[in-house]
Symmetry: D3
Subunit: 237 residues, 6 copies
């Protein structure tokens, strides 16, 4: 079984961190390949960045046939588009993390990077039906590309959030926090969920069950369509 993990920003360092975490959690016999696009934003910290990360992300998925795919950015960019044409199931890390957290307690707190990304996290909580479990979304105020080195700031924000939200579980709101899971759990004292790991295992589970996105309706392959300009390579046939 091969799982393709795509970090939708163009940071090689962050891609490597994600790749290590993903490979470490996958089951025996599962090959994990982690890549990032050659086009798009260096990091994703706004709706603008998120929207513009999608072409690169889709290009990565199209070029790397696998049994299943993970989108490793907490905004889950391009998830629905990817589901229409990917060869296997596609899971976003926010989706996997928040649904996992909902099995572990009455309510969870999400801790993201910049304050402006909080709205997107709430939108996703509503989309995935877990808003009733989400007690709060807060930010550690560290930019995405610096978050890996900022375990103290992240842990502090998690501790504050658990107390303020009276929550039972923490959800790490950025792929760049993936290596900090165990340490933060140790410091905060409640279960801490990392979406990269959760998504890899969710994809692995789906593949093992022989399940993938339904092609019966909305997520059937996109109708053939010419694309023009720099996006011409996206033409579907």
């Amino acid at each position: 079984m091969r799982i393709q993990v795509v970090n939708p920003n163009t940071s090689a360092a962050m891609t490597e961190t994600i790749g290590r975490a993903a490979a470490a959690i996958a089951g025996p016999g599962v090959e994990v390949r982690t890549t990032c696009p050659s086009m798009g934003p260096a990091s994703i910290e706004s709706h603008y960045d998120e929207a513009l990360s999608v072409p690169g992300l889709l290009a990565e998925i199209a070029s790397a046939p696998a049994d299943g795919y993970v989108i490793a950015c907490f905004g889950d960019p391009g998830l629905e588009a990817a589901r229409e044409f990917a060869d296997g199931p596609v899971i976003g890390i926010a989706e996997a993390a928040m649904r996992t957290a909902a099995c572990l307690g009455r309510g969870f707190s999400v801790v993201t990077t910049l304050d402006r990304t909080r709205g997107r996290a709430w939108d996703l909580a509503h989309r995935y039906g877990v808003a009733g479990f989400c007690r709060g979304v807060s930010a550690c105020d560290v930019p995405v590309l610096e978050v890996e080195a900022a375990v103290d700031a992240v842990a502090a924000a998690c501790r504050t959030a658990v107390a303020a939200d009276r929550s039972d579980v923490v959800v790490l709101g950025c792929a760049g926090m993936t290596a900090q899971r165990a340490e933060i759990e140790r410091r905060v004292g409640v279960p801490v969920v990392d979406g990269v790991q959760a998504a890899v295992l969710q994809v692995e589970s789906l593949v093992r069950m022989g399940l993938r996105t339904s092609a019966a309706g909305e997520f059937a392959p996109p109708p053939p369509k010419p694309y023009s300009g720099p996006l011409e390579p996206f033409t579907t046939t």
Copy 2:
């Protein structure tokens, strides 16, 4: 006052139709300019198309300073990204049409083009808070680029929807139906709302009131960021 209407697909014919409808409804002293991107899909009929229309759409908005902007595709692609950096307020036609319809009766029916776009319309109804007014979303099963010439099929689908949904109002679910509003209203016998017109007037109203997207938090301009590859022109500073 100048309003920029962007048709996010690359069809010149459809852009012209939209432009005529937009210009016709705008108030005295309002200049309406309607354009479409040079890159992206010929029409938008999937999540894939919608995601890939966004770079072209954003490029259009960035290159054409105006007092306010309309996104003229019923999926409202790129709406949140556009709000972060546009010079004035931005309104999507689904947003404008569905909110307008909610003022005119107990419930409305949306009629879209292809069946697979129904899910997106429901998502937007939820996002804009009008799901309680939305009695149903149905499709006329005509592709986007043929819908302008298919008034009979659209009207028939509207009539069927109003009866099945027991609704009071129809919302046209594609910018390509804009020229059919009056004719369909005549045939169906209930108010019919066209999002292109509704969005132009909503933007005009906002500009007249001196209102634009709040820059206080989530929709502040995106943080400076290098972009690479074919998307390098989107670099923010």
Copy 3:
């Protein structure tokens, strides 16, 4: 085009203030006429006042044929009744203000007059589908007829609300605040929406599009009915 704005309380001074704001925002060629009833409460500060303002409001609408109507009290009293028999579309200022604010940010704060009116504002937020955008409703604790002169208190309450609710936009929760919009926006630093202006422009837009309340079902003219006692003039035929 003629738009009739009805202030449902009997205060002439407040009617004049509303009239000035309404006339100032209307487009070229739009005649705005603002009136108030000769019967009913001097101001509306309870469910009791609101219920008892409706006969006077409906009498005003019935006696003044126009292309569209605005109900200029933030409780939107009598809105559904007015829609059943008015000659054109009818918009309440809470409806217009809250829907407008929902286009300008992630969340808005409503600031009303007396604390006891907060519940009604929440009810309307739910009715119009914008409760998800409404971050809070607070009161400036100034009675309706004194609010026009109390810009400092209103502005202070708005500033406090924006901070406490972490909201992006302010909605003025009383028609008597209409003249303060620009000044409060200047002081608070986020977009401030006034429902009088928003409703006038919404009605103007509907009329321009040829749209009015659907008469297909619930909002058809009321069945003929004898009325007795002091309400006999409301008999429908």
Copy 4:
């Protein structure tokens, strides 16, 4: 204990029917007095009628001191206004009937008179928090003042509704159906709830427990206020 039941329309015959049902269900030692206003609509079949029934209803409540009050029209007109100033608890028959039905099964069907009143019933189901129990609202298409004599039509509509909605319980959607409860239950075969009876017993229960509307905030007595014109008698001091 004295309970005042107010039929908010001016029909003496219907008031008598309601009065008989109310008196029959009240417990030993409970005096039930049923009246109707001298002003207002002959029956309530629209938002217009409902709004205009409120002054007469409030006048009845103000002039007849009692331990508790029932508003005997399925639209529950004036409920919140009445709660602000009545001497004891106030219950609407839709409120009582729908909350009672929610204790008796998974879902109930409401059967009203005219089709145009269906929207109001849904609004109340949402307001009272029982929309999740409400499987459907349908109409028997008999005007309010003829419904008492139309048991066959009402029963037929109830039978159809239970089958179509797959519901367990019927709620009678008009005070004029009160005398038909047992007969319809016999014919339809599921529990049938009449709001007049349910509301009388709910008020009796509240009075026995010493409970009435909280005066702590929103429902405190309305602030003193001059009223003018024919509504001058409503002036509060």
Copy 5:
């Protein structure tokens, strides 16, 4: 008329307190019998306790034919199971208390015993459709079997909750608080609802109206089934 009140824990003292309150509120001619099971937990303070109280509770209901039943624990354990086979209507005290409170103001506060029971109270508020009225659930941090003697702690928690939640009404969140209702109301100054009383009167009202759980579908008697082990007595035929 005979009403059976079941305290689902095995505490005789608490059963006696509940029995006194229940008998005191019932109408003339209503016999109230209050019992507790011989098997199960001494008190109910966790999901574990609640689940394991159900066999004893159901045995009590099965062995004591009555016209209606009250489940006198604020978690409403076994309510749906009891409705399937009881001879008459069954009401839980959380259900009765929260629905009663929703008639008395804009919002209520629930005050429970241990903090860990708060989640269950919220679940029930959602199930009964009153979550929109529930402004908060807080705990007085007194174990169930000590709460009767702890009126000061309960009253203090109620006062704090009303202020923090800005609510109009208090709901007592444990059957053991039933004797404290009047005293707490006196101290806190807003209506205080006790579920034991509310549930007895709700059952009495249902019986008087001739209403009981619908046997039309989900709540029909359970299909015949052999039970084994210590639960063999529950075998249905």
Copy 6:
């Protein structure tokens, strides 16, 4: 790693079927042990059966230390109680199946055994936050203990449901259908999710990530408590 799967009814045959499916899907190195209680109902087809299955289920979990637990009945009986005291994470098959299905399409259909169990499935869909994905719940009208042999009836019900609900995915609504997944998928043509497999893999994933139910609040071990009668063995210390 050891996973304990508990079939909460006492049928040995059904337990064996479940055990085969569970063992077949578990990853390398995972030992799956499947048992059923010695006390309780032969099958679970009512709220009564479900409530009375819980003591046996909890006894099984208490007596078989493992790294994680699956509750293999689509009503997820005793899930919250089990989470309070089990040594590792606990997942119900309805929870796992419905959350898995929500990743595979816009909407799913649940197909259960008897019609009367439909309400419970909807309750769980709401509890887990997936009601927005659940397009319908229907029954194949085959009793639980006969469903394994009734693949034709189950498949027919699934086909009908997918067409009627316009759904993309099927969720098998009984553990007894576990062996039919692939065959039904073949016949119906959309992804079919079996909760037994999904739950085993969900538990395996949680264990691999080092995650278990939060003991921070509501799901901490139950307070020490004496139990009496036949339930005395459940005493906690």
